[in-house]
Symmetry: none
Subunit: 402 residues, 2 copies
């Protein structure tokens, strides 16, 4: 634990309060022109605005100023974990993204099918972007690889991408990629970065040897490279840090996986925001804390579709009454990062954040927007402190010192 | 020292400036209803408002977001010490609270008289809340306990509560409580949490053995439990960090003790704010820095008495002209934490803070209030940085680097 989480963990106490963290992925935006409005400011959001009036606003910095986070660090910050301390390897994120239940003894790897020429050099790093139909059976073939003392799992992701997991005692995660990031050269040998990774390298070498034999007639996918070889971070659970019994209501596997990483129960969330609200209602009595995730504010931003992002924010707004009807003691609405449609990508901009609770200090906000959040009572703060504010507002922290 | 204090200590320089830190305990508040005003916003404070116009405002986070501090960490933060790094044990705070002058070789303990049954199990953890009249002579009896190589002090606090201090070389502070927090079981043995605490445990065992004999006929107070066994933190003094000669003008023992902990001279402050101002005037030439403490903004908040807190703030405001008449180079008005009367308790909310000095950057504030502080020039900042701002404004810090 970080010192701060250690402090929170010592101060935590239980009560009957309910906390909801509603994450609109990539919520923050930018105006298209100077003086213009952001997506959130353009959207008609009567329910969020009403919530802003009885809550307090602020801008959350996902990691540190200027840092654009991926979904992993973005969510770890919101969950109260220092996203610089706890790093999630690419292989782990890829495994979480296909709902693979990673254990503490698992090494997760992102695999890419590639094409080797007769001399064994890489001709195409993505095997001609082979179709999913053709790649999936190859993954099944690789899944039959047996290595003594280790369980091997191979799962297809999409096109040339796959996930490989080695499960066994004593496997370290710090192994260099075998992808040379170039063509005309052979794949690299897996290289251990420390003592603990040596056994993993032996396993990887054996895996690659068998894979080369199994795939030799499957050109263009006649071999694979291994990338982002990593174990999941050794991370304290929500129960350990906050004493909270936690349910995640997320549709997309990546976010379900991130929730599982911190020990949340991952609930069946259906496919739509309506499904998610129904699940929230059904599970309301069973948990202290709910993490709800809404993906489309990010994907429309990534598409550079300003109007579609506005629409998705309005869709989110329409779901708010079903959440507030449950009377959560603390309701937070925020994002894991900004995804301005102007930039068609994640960005570093701080994220509009709303916290509504009985004892929050009102800040005269009348709407939920980037500009109102800039003047809000929470100020600008690092995302990792949002959970301690939630715990305080829920009455779940003892006084520190006498 | 923390890295930051180490830096300040290297940059400090002397001049003839005078700095006043006026702490209104628990100053921050909450409105009773959305859109309403806090206690400070309700109070009529012409003098503080005038000071706000020629000063700069901000909101101070006592420890970290969401953390509700006790008086100890609240003041350490204002004094510029990292309140997470320097922790003050319960026994130390209890000793400070009765004006006991704790030295670096002292282990301070909060004692509770308790009732043992014939089998030696605890029947009542507070000895029937024995009256002060009956408990005081028992403390005097215990004060006669002699242990070779160690001085023993026993002081009555109130009703069943007392302070025990062991003074001697090589006594560590990390010893578990002997109070089992339950009845029907015997008191626990004192248990060392590390090597340095072993000698303290031997002393405590001998003390408890003699106490059991001395008190055996004093039912209901026929024994005592020991709690919060601790040494004062090894903390650099104000002279070491800031090069300031410092006088504390505080009425209540706890705050006099906290001032003494960081090496302040504790002055006779009388009983009222008027007395305190007179003392400040009389001592003005003798010190560089004055810490003035006003208790009643906290106690009225704890009582849940919104109107009384408003009145106490107005009382504080009325004292401002006597302070400004002395022309301090830097005058700060703040609190060690918030105590909203709505909550009847300390809280985590950031604390309104005012700093007036010749070279501060005005922020167009027209009043001293939570909402003005939210928009103030100091922004939201951790309390531990207030002292470096004061030093800077007093011209007492050299340039850092060339």
């Amino acid at each position: 634990m970080s010192d701060f989480q250690d402090l929170i963990s010592k101060l935590k106490k239980k009560n009957d309060s309910k906390i909801v963290l509603l994450v609109a992925d990539g919520l923050g935006g930018l105006p298209l022109e100077p003086g213009g409005k952001t997506e959130l400011e353009t959207a008609n959001t009567p329910n969020l605005d009403a919530l802003a009036q009885r809550g307090t606003l602020g801008l959350s910095t996902p990691v540190l100023p200027g840092i654009t986070p991926g979904s992993g660090p973005g969510h770890l910050g919101l969950f109260g974990y220092d996203p610089v301390k706890y790093q999630i390897g690419r292989g782990v994120l890829e495994a979480l993204g296909i709902d693979f239940d990673l254990g503490p003894n698992d090494v997760a790897i992102r695999g890419n099918f590639c094409t080797l020429d007769d001399a064994g050099s890489i001709e195409d790093r993505r095997a001609g972007r082979i179709s999913s139909e053709k790649a999936a059976p190859l993954c099944e073939k690789l899944n039959d690889i047996k290595i003594p003392g280790v369980e091997v799992f191979v799962r297809h992701v999409k096109e040339y991408r796959l996930v490989v997991v080695f499960r066994g005692e004593g496997l370290g995660g710090d192994v260099d990629d075998t992808d040379p990031q170039a063509t005309g050269v052979p794949p690299l040998d897996p290289n251990p970065r420390n003592e603990a990774a040596k056994k993993t390298v032996e396993v990887a070498q054996e895996f690659l040897k068998q894979a080369r034999e199994l795939l030799k007639d499957d050109r263009p996918a006649n071999f694979l490279t291994l990338r982002g070889i990593a174990k999941r971070p050794d991370i304290p659970t929500y129960e350990e840090v906050y004493g909270l019994k936690t349910g995640a209501v997320a549709v997309y596997p990546m976010y379900r996986g991130l929730a599982r990483l911190v020990g949340m129960d991952v609930l069946d969330a259906g496919q739509t925001l309506d499904d998610q609200c129904s699940r929230l209602e059904a599970a309301w009595k069973d948990y202290d804390f709910f993490f709800m995730h809404f993906k489309y504010t990010d994907s429309t931003g990534e598409d550079g579709n300003f109007d579609a992002k506005v629409q998705r924010i309005e869709e989110l707004d329409a779901a708010i009454p079903r959440i507030t009807a449950l009377n959560p003691d603390v309701l937070m609405v925020t994002g894991d990062h900004s995804t301005p449609s102007k930039m068609k990508s994640h960005s570093w901009h701080p994220v509009p954040t709303l916290l509504a609770a009985n004892n929050c200090r009102y800040d005269n906000s009348t709407e939920f927007s980037e500009s109102a959040c800039l003047r809000g009572g929470l100020g600008q703060f690092e995302a990792k402190y949002l959970m301690s504010l939630a715990m305080a507002n829920a009455g779940r922290l003892e006084k520190y010192g006498a």
